[in-house]
Amino acid sequence: MIPMKSTTTNSRRDFLKMTAITGGGLVLGFNWFSAEANAPVKFSSIGAGDVGFNSYLSISTEGTITILSPNPELGQNIITSFPMVVAEELEADWKKVKVLQANLDNKFDRQLTGGSGAVPHSWKLLRNAGATAKFMLIEAAAKIWSVPASECTAANSFVIHSRSGKKLSYGELAEAASKIPVPSTVKLKDRKDFKLIGKSVRNVENLKIVTGKPLFGLDFYREGMVYAMIQRPEQFGMKLKSFDGSIAKAMPGIIDVVSFKNNVAVVGKSTWQVLKARKLLKIEYEKEFDLESTEDHDKLFMNLMDNGQATVRRKDGDVDAAFKSAAKVIKGEYQCPFISHSPMEPMNFFAHVRPDGVELVGPTQTPARARAEVSQLLKIPEDKITLQLTRLGGGFGRRLKNDFATEAAELSSIIKAPVKLIWTKEDDMTGGTYRPACRYRFEAALDSSGNLTGYKLRGVGINSGNPTREHNFPSGAVDNLLIDSVEHKSAITTGAWRAPITNFLAFAEQAFLDEVALAAGKDPVQFRLDLLAKAKKSPVGDIRYDISRMEGVIKMAAEKSGWGKKKDVSQGFSVYFSHASYVAQVAEVIMRNGLPVVKKIYAVSDCGQVVSMNGASHQVMGGIVDGLGHAMYSKLSFRDGAADQNNYNNYRLIRMKEVPEIETHFVDNGIDPTGLGEPALPPTGGAVANAIFKATGKRMRNQPFIEEDVFKTVS
């Protein structure tokens, strides 16, 4: 056993730290983000695993390379992609790489899952970390062999001196390498030499997933913990007036019934006992805000569309003049309902509030925010709160909000016990936080040659924030443009839903552009390319998207799908820039028994460098299935503030028989990664709607499509 060292190098960036593996040996520990990192909080009950908690990347003397994956894993496969990038630059033998999910730690930067931003944000940092470690291993070997480092190479977890045929493994070099000063700059690999990046690498947690190992928040168990469920108001706009929990409390296995805020919590010894007892609560609520219904919203949308006090989001040129002198004016309106995120794993969190601090365990997309909220709520400093991340059984934006974590912490502080709080599927589906319902009105002015001379968009949303994305295409390509919005504040809670706002706006915009192209007598693909050419030649105002990248995916999608050349299918086109990536899609629809059926969707994505081809195609295919499913089938409606749908029996999700064939392509342009968790979803609704129009002559105006006439008529 080699003694633990605590010296740090003289690096300006405090790049390297020495640490030790319990019972293992000396390791290299790289702390690649901040020199100012706070020391981790340690409770005896939180084990750091077999790796020094401070290290991200360590190499044991046995050669095991351990990489901590800081970001919450919810199916985007970051737990595989991040280590791949490190291992690539490190020239590590992938089979010897062990990946661990990191807990919340201040030394990690942007430890969250959202905005399709993890890989773009960390790409260079991860590569740098791997390359720095490789540099030091090579230096160490060169020193041992007394040869110039330039004569040594690294491959497959070995440093090799080919002239002499000498070879040392990373495990053998780990200790010596740790004494090499940290280089201030390192050379990164040329992408043509990538061995892992861009290849199909399997998810590192596959075996655990297929054998049912406890990975998820709901699987977490702590000796002595109790189970709890909360009864919340069933109508948005109601608040708790009074309750009687005596009957529930007398039920077997029930430990306590307590109340906080608008909640009545039942605490017991098992999930089922709590679930049964909760039904016996006697609760009275009273009205706090308006109890809204979907009918009210429909009227409200119309009223605000015409009379609302709009906030101008973007204004270019003179739209009024453009519409006055137009040869043709086209108008189109589109509306979407609220929808639920509905990840498969219902909301849950474990909390143990103790005199010396708080322990939190569970699935959240934003662990740092969860800690901050618990700190604020309980007036406990953040450095006394730990948060252990579990795998997330889906997120889709629902777990950006941490209401379940603060509820668990508050409840634990009241009952003074470790508690696992569980939401049922019904609690989640009826309790917010939904994709906001929105309505859009588009207007386009065409001149006599069919050029788009004026463009207006008004978005009206319920708790939507800004329901437009005013700088997205076609902004920048139209001389006269006005984008504004109106927001209605409601008691119905909303939140970010995968590809926030654009998950519906993209459909509306891409369907409208199809209408305009047809009115102009132009091919929808050529119409978009003409607009982009105009934006390139004479840009109008601020352009936030990359015109060439958008042109690239459009052309490739047209080519791959045989756009305009097929006789037996009706094709619809769509392209969208969201977050920082570009995706073009072509949907193909056929008629079967008088009904339109989506047969195939082609997707061309420009997300920059693909890290794992498996993971990337998963994100694109999953995004398309998600986009198609919700456009076709899903909706939440309300009556007096209560959701009409509460579980999968009345809230329809897409199933296997409803998915079309999907063909994915990626633009290989060598740009650094720009993210892929969301960008493939927004274009789908538009491509499908445009294909349905081609097949039936009917324009999809409202989601879900399944309620439109074209799906009701059997010819």
Binding site: I247, L392, N647, M656
Partner: protein, 177 residues
């Protein structure tokens, strides 16, 4: 908090008594799970799902919807795919229950291997139920057509939309049986 009047008190005491009676139906169940006899002291109406998860520590079987709609809780009861979230423990009797933990000893059932090879999982939460549903299908029909696979697997929801790979993995596993 205000508590209302005497009628309510009467109803309350009736229900408290009822609750006490319910307590009496708590029983010790000996269950045949994954080839072992396991015991749980639970109420008769407790779904097998919660017995497995809360009492026997077998958390591979997942709670998804609780109303037999999504299939995340699928286990085998005497070989039949069963939604454990609505299957009361009192109905299990001497039936053989197999969960994902008991599908194979080393995680090497053809479906588990195919799931890895095709890299099926995204979030992974529904996959135990998907695999158990597929395992029951392959036991009964080792060489299903794509249509037969779809008809069976249509009963399980994957919110991440990994349906293409699920279908492909079932087909691959069937080719190895």
């Amino acid at each position: 908090m205000k508590i209302s009047h005497s009628i309510f008190f009467l109803v309350a005491s009736f229900l408290v008594n009822l609750a006490k009676n319910q307590n009496k139906v708590m029983a010790n169940y000996k269950l045949q799970v994954n080839g072992k006899t396991l015991q749980a002291d639970v109420e008769a109406d407790t779904p097998l799902l919660w017995v497995l998860r809360d009492h026997l520590g077998l958390v591979g079987t997942k709670y998804g919807c609780g109303i037999a709609q999504c299939g995340a809780c699928t286990v085998h009861v005497n070989g039949s795919p069963t939604r454990s979230c609505v299957y009361p423990v009192s109905a299990v009797g001497s039936s053989q229950v197999i969960t994902i933990e008991g599908l194979s000893e080393q995680g090497d059932h053809p479906l588990q291997k195919a799931w890895d090879e095709i890299d099926v999982a995204q979030c992974g939460y529904c996959q135990a139920g998907q695999i158990m549903t597929a395992a029951a299908l392959l036991k009964q029909n080792p060489k299903p057509s794509m249509d037969e696979i779809e008809v069976t697997m249509n009963a399980n929801i994957c919110r991440c939309g990994a349906y293409h790979r699920i279908r492909e993995a079932v087909k691959l596993a069937s080719s190895k049986i």
